[in-house]
Amino acid sequence: MIDPLVLLLLTLVIVGGFALVGILLTRGQVRDAEDYITARNTMGLHVATATFIATVMGAWILFSPAEAGVFFGLPAVIGYGIGSAIPLIVYAFLGPRARRLAPTGHSVTELSLARFGLSMYSVVLFVSVFYMFIFLAAELTAIALTFNLLAGIPPVFPALVLPALLVGLATLAYTAYGGLRASVVTDHIQVLVILPLLAVAFVGVIVALGGPIVLFQEITTNAPELLQLTSLPGIYFAIFVAIAITGANIFNQAYWQRFYASRSERVLKRGLGVAAFAVFPMVALAGMFGIMAAGVGASEVPSVAFFSLVLASLPIWLVLLIYLLVLALIMSTMDSLLNGLASIFTTDVPRLGGRLSSRNLLRFARVITLLLALAAIVIASFGFSVLTLFLVADLVCAAAAFPMVYGLYSERLGGVGAAVASIAGMVVGTPFFALAQAPGADVASLYLLSFGLAFVTSVALTLVFSLGRKRYDLGILAIEVQELGVQR
């Protein structure tokens, strides 16, 4: 255990440092709301690559893949890695498409309003905001729980406030000040911290546990099923998680902002390609902590298997370095989510009839960022289990993803058809999702059924609704979607 005061001081120094860098490096660069949420055509290849990696990697990689490893073994860990890379590969095609269709675009909700009208826009708005806000609250909850775990404090209400508040306010400080530019700049530094520290934690744990051969023997003795590549529950989990992550990321506004912030289509594609290549080993490596924890009997609480292993095997100075990794992971995702959510509201205000000057729109964006951060801090302070809510968000995203994407390629899909296909997918997937919550349920099979049916139903109905004669001219999107302050 680490002295809570030392840990608090360390938190203050690290998050303060990131906030200072974010503010100093973006000083005087944000003049209006357009700068704040888009930073159009400003990111070169190195920045794009780093920011895409940082946006995918949240603190979740230290919790969920390891938990999947404990329960479902190697196939689930590999599936988690592939599933995390798929959205980036999808985006390598979708991003340039979005840029060509609407060169002055900002957000997925804005595109859905222009492409489909109010019906599908309502679905996309709900799904995006719900998913991103749950993600935000989950990241802050993760830091509060990690802090308490390392300091040996029971994870209850008052003790969770301070770490969540510190990290939340520091991220808010540079995100509210520098907008997307600050998020991107700090992403770059955070990735250069995250990658080596993840490698150091991995090597440190393996060496501390006696090396790979000893670990292999421990796993084959205590949990041999976890190393079987043909384990059916593991394969089911891998497919379900790939659908869930891909669907959810389609509605993560942080990516759509970065499509437009990239300097060119080539930069966007290469940045996403490298990030996809980077994400697979990072997630799979994090998942291996779960299998190793199960092998050496350190997985009593599977969701914190990573930390159990780290605390049991590493010296204190290395544990503190791992804490820096956690903070960098959380801040890199949280700033992207905060600015992404703010951009949805900021883009939609003028489009839905609100008349604000450019300056007031920037002020509005900053106030929205503040309110969202405060709401997330309050939720995180209670330490709720956000996992189920996260999965609900993933399910609704999995059902709405295909209609949204297909509408950017097909001229025959109407707004009502897209909305009906999305909602039908959600309705079909829900009963199996509810069954999976029962104690002793076959979780992997039921989640696969739930997410698989939600996705397949929405795909089938989308294709059926695209058989009509009515056509929508996709060329109109470039005219309908304009820069902020140039509304039609």
Partner: protein, 50 residues
């Protein structure tokens, strides 16, 4: 699965993460170097001196 394949898998994962880190580091340093050179040229350009 044998111990050898398990070890190779762990090494491959680690090597990939390290490779990505080196790649990001190299493109970052190259970009910063280019920026620095461009800024230097700008400072020393005749139009600036005038």
């Amino acid at each position: 699965m044998s111990a050898l394949i398990f070890t190779a898998f762990l090494v491959a994962l680690l090597a990939s993460v390290v490779a990505v880190f080196i790649y990001v580091l190299i493109i970052t340093v190259r970009s910063l170097w280019r920026h620095k050179r461009a800024a230097g040229r700008f400072r020393g350009s005749p139009s600036r001196r005038r």
